[in-house]
């Protein structure tokens, strides 16, 4: 068993390197070339040739001789899903480096794919820790066409070229920039022309592998006919075994590879007993064979023994494990056998596929079973299998493969299945691919409408409504989402916890957007309870995500923290990969910490949340967390980091994200501009997004309106009055929907405005109101962010216990004054000149002396003094000096 449970369900046969045949033609000159490429530090060895040239044999021979630790990965079509590809990639390399990719493997197993640079960075870090460089064989790379896979490989290899060497076996050149690698001497190539058997090698072949007495002339003819093609030589050898007149047989060979191959395959086949011929033809439809499956397909009972016979007879059978259970045919051979099967038993092929499908579905291999049903044209059975297994198929990271089936199904068949379309709609909803969601919804509805009314129809109707409600609420269509969610709950059976959980999630999310706090909380808590009953982990986490985000919006820190912590405990007990929303859940704990002034706790949780969000490639979570991280950085005056966070958030938002993220992002961007001292830019951000100081206050953009309050404060008395009017409107609006934290913040901003206007008593009144609202949930940070003026007012609120607590928080702000480490708690920091003026005043210089010292006019000094008084919230010099010392500025 692997150290990571998520990897337990992988097909182990994909890692199995075929055995090196005891009798073979050794190719030391080619092995030497490959080994030399390793020593020279090249990053890719490309063995590129059509089928049957001996690519795998050469690779196996090399692997037995190299001293480099190596792993093997047999690729198939399903590996075009990048999440699946990199999961198997990691699992393969774990055979030689057990902890490789452990962190991200769990997410990949759930079909979650981090962004390319994140994935490459994570894996590169692990490779750097490897004690030795590694070698990975990728067999049959020609089946991979997905550019995301190639881009990911390239990104990884380019980061750690010295740590990982890829040996690529392929029938066609892969979509790597091979020409560039070639030019940089980073590529070793073995091509078809190199793999052709030489005269000496052909002699060796017919001496050691298939011993035959052949003259030099016969060997020359064989070389000419087969052109040194290994598969041709092998088939010719098998055809000649037991013949008397080898010379005549060899002379009879002519034509192209394809002709020779077809001819020789028939020859080899017809030399086998009838029962073997029948066995080979029928089983040619299978990608992988074992005894029991072959028995079911052929009607025999001795298939296991037959397979061993075929292996011993060198009949192109390749073992896939060490226990002799599973095999496959060499691709070329099986293709030819299948074409012979079509010719001789074409009308029975569908029946064979159906037998295979039945066995595979009975033995837990539903994916392969569907393949065979589709090949048989048995669409009804294929759909039945998909419907039974759709959620596990999609949840198990097989989206790419299942998507391929959907495209292969005739449209009229796809349109018959409600369940399959619902399954797809759900997966695409989770991936925010709304266009595909709409398509599959439409299909699901049509399918339901075209079916006769059955007892199960109401349940299907409820399912459609539940998913539709979730879709509508992500689109911001709140009323429609509420209606659909309520109807889904009405139709759903009382005991159908999964469906009721899904509907409750949608309804709760919509109620949250409608600002119906109490109802939303109740509904989402019910959703969580139902999903715990049904063990629907994903829906449960999504419900928690909605609940905690809403709780934070409404300032209910305790509710947010409790819900987040409960869900994390649930996560610990669950074997499944954490769903993408887990990043937000950790970030919620970070936000609670931040609001309570616990900066290190905040940072730790947010960084953890961000990492998990990046693992899962869940952009909405990344945007939400980065918006919050920017706030932390702004408080620390780290504008560079704040900008990095905001840039990433905006980039992802513009690429396509849910609308509910926008108001928070706008507010933070405006706060950033204001903190940098660019009031004009802050104002532009707000105006461009339709947030104006006059007119209706639209929630949830409440925080953005508060930035207006700060901007208006700089516009003199009229601005202050306008700002106060705005805070009153914010308070009124927030109170109607119980957004107590917004009411608190508005009161705090009122206090700032009033204090700046020298209306201290009114300012104290507003501050007390803010403190009263802050106390139940433990808000500290908003007061620290408001800075000096609030610290000054708090002095006169000392009768309130909570005021003293906030004062303690101010006093605990670090006072280190190094240039690198100083953290100004002022929302608008003193400029260097203002600080210089204040320093000189604190030393006892007069205004005139300061002017002389700084070589500026007296008016200029007065101007700077006015500015620093305003920022510190004071009205006289002694208080300015006192406040500056308190804040560690002097």
């Amino acid at each position: 068993m692997s150290p990571i449970p998520a990897l337990d369900n992988l097909l182990q046969t994909k890692f199995h390197q075929p055995a090196l045949p005891a009798r073979r033609v050794s190719r030391p000159h080619l092995v030497a070339r490959l080994e030399e490429g390793l020593r020279a530090g090249r990053v890719v060895s490309l063995i590129s040739a059509p089928a049957g040239y001996g690519k795998s044999s050469l690779a196996i021979e090399w692997s037995r001789q190299t001293s480099r630790p190596y792993a093997w990965l047999q690729l198939d079509e399903g590996d075009n899903d990048p999440a699946r590809f990199f999961l198997y990639f990691i699992a393969a390399l774990q055979k030689v480096q057990p902890d490789f990719g452990a962190e991200v493997a769990v997410s990949l197993a759930a079909g979650q794919l981090p962004a390319q640079d994140i994935l490459a960075g994570l894996l590169a870090d692990d490779l750097l820790r490897a004690p030795r460089p590694l070698l990975l064989f990728l067999d049959d790379l020609q089946v991979i066409h997905e550019t995301a896979v190639f881009n990911g490989l390239q990104a990884l290899v380019s980061r750690v070229p010295e740590k990982l060497h890829l040996a690529v076996l392929t029938r066609e050149d892969p979509s790597f920039p091979l020409a560039r690698l070639r030019a940089q001497n980073l590529l070793t190539e073995i091509r078809a022309a190199d793999l052709r058997f030489s005269t000496a090698e052909i002699q060796d072949f017919y001496r050691a592998v298939i011993p035959l007495e052949l003259s030099a002339d016969d060997l020359a003819v064989l070389e000419k006919r087969t052109e040194g093609w290994a598969a041709g030589l092998q088939l010719a050898g098998l055809s000649m075994q037991g013949r008397e007149d080898l010379h005549a047989f060899i002379q009879s060979l002519n034509g192209s590879h394809r002709f020779i191959l077809g001819y020789l395959t028939e020859e080899v086949l017809h030399r086998q007993p009838e029962y073997i011929q029948d066995f080979l033809l029928k089983t040619s439809i299978l990608k992988q064979l074992n005894g029991s499956l072959c028995d079911a397909l052929t009607g025999r009972s001795d298939s296991a023994e037959l397979l061993e016979e075929l292996l011993a007879a060198n009949l192109f059978l390749i073992p896939l494990d060490d226990s002799g259970q599973w095999y496959r045919y060499h691709g070329l051979f099986s293709e030819l056998l299948f074409s012979l099967l079509k010719r001789s038993q074409g009308e029975q092929i569908n029946e064979y596929h159906q037998r295979a499908s039945r066995w595979l579905s009975e033995h837990g291999r539903a994916l392969d079973a569907v393949d065979h049903s589709l090949a048989a044209g048995d669409y009804a059975r294929a759909i039945e299998l998909m419907e039974e297994n759709i959620l596990s198929m999609l949840g198990g990271g097989h989206l790419w493969r299942v998507d391929g089936w959907i495209r292969a199904l005739p449209p009229e068949w796809l349109g018959r299945s409600v369940k399959i379309n619902l399954g797809f709609a759900w997966v695409y909803l989770l991936r925010s691919n709304f266009e595909r969601v709409a398509f599959h919804f439409g299909q699901a509805r049509s399918a339901l409408e075209s079916q006769p009314e059955t007892p199960g129809a109401e349940k299907l109707r409820a399912e459609i409504l539940a998913l539709e409600a979730n879709f509508l609420q992500t689109q911001g269509k709140v009323k429609e989402a509420i209606a659909a969610g309520q109807e889904a709950l009405r139709l759903a059976d009382a005991g159908d916890f999964r469906l009721r959980g899904l509907a409750s999630l949608a309804l709760g999310g919509a109620l949250r957007q409608a600002d119906q706090f109490d109802q939303a909380v109740e509904t989402l808590q019910e959703a969580i309870r139902l999903t715990q009953e049904s063990k629907d982990f994903v829906t449960g986490m999504l419900s928690t995500g909605q609940l905690v985000l809403m709780a934070l919006d409404f300032g209910r820190l305790r509710l947010a923290a409790e819900a987040a912590e409960r869900s994390l405990r649930w996560l610990e007990d669950s074997p499944t990969a954490p769903p993408p929303i887990i990043g937000v859940i950790f970030s919620t704990l970070g936000m609670v910490g931040l609001e309570r002034g616990q900066m290190e706790t905040a940072r730790e949780y947010m960084q953890r949340g961000l990492k998990l969000a990046r693992f899962s490639g869940h952009n909405a979570s990344i945007i939400s967390i980065q918006t919050n991280m920017a706030r932390l950085h702004l408080y620390e005056r780290d504008f560079e980091q704040a900008k990095i966070c905001l840039d990433e958030a905006w980039r992802l938002f513009i690429a396509g994200a849910a609308g509910w993220l926008r108001p928070g992002l706008i507010a933070r961007q405006a706060q950033y501009e204001l903190a940098r001292g660019d009031a004009a830019a802050a104002e532009a951000v707000l105006r461009e997004n339709g947030i104006l100081p006059e007119g209706e206050v639209r929630l949830p953009a409440g925080e953005a309106y508060l930035v207006w309050v700060r901007l208006l404060a700089a516009h003199g008395e009229a601005g202050i009055e306008q700002g106060l009017a705005l805070t009153r409107r914010i308070i009124e609006r927030a109170q109607t929907v119980k957004r107590s934290s917004l009411v608190m913040l508005a009161n705090l901003h009122q206090a700032l405005l009033l204090e700046s206007a020298d209306r201290r008593d009114e300012a104290l009144f507003s501050l007390r109101a803010a403190l009263e609202l802050a106390e139940p949930e433990g808000f500290i940070q908003p007061f620290l962010e408001a800075g000096g003026p609030i610290a000054s007012l708090l002095v006169d609120c000392g009768d309130l216990p909570y005021a003293r607590r906030v004062q303690s928080a101010f006093a605990a702000i670090p006072t280190a004054s190094s240039a690198a480490g100083v953290r100004s708690p002022l929302p608008e920091p003193l400029t260097e000149r203002e600080l210089e003026v204040l320093r000189l005043l604190a030393e006892g210089l007069s205004y005139a002396e300061v002017a002389e010292h700084l070589v500026v006019s007296l008016n200029t000094v007065r101007y700077h003094v006015k500015g620093l008084y305003g920022k510190l919230g004071v009205d006289r010099q002694t208080r300015a000096v006192e406040m500056a010392r308190k804040l560690g500025l002097l």
Binding site: S48, S175, R180
Partner: protein, 82 residues
Amino acid sequence: MKPVQHTPDSTSEYTIGVYGRLDEEFISAFCPPGTRLEQEGECARLSGIYADQAAILGLLRQLHNLGCAIHWMQARPVDQEE
């Protein structure tokens, strides 16, 4: 002089016409040395591509992935001594 061979492993000189725009960056990353690019309006002509069959298949797939529609292609088996 060895006779020209018509096998998948032998080298041919290919010329490909595609609908779409290509640039030198693509040539230097994905095409064998000596490949020439001529852009003729909305069509690109790649010439002087010396490759075996596996290589040309890979190049065609790369063009396909870039959204280029293959317009025409010519292959000229080359003398082994060229």
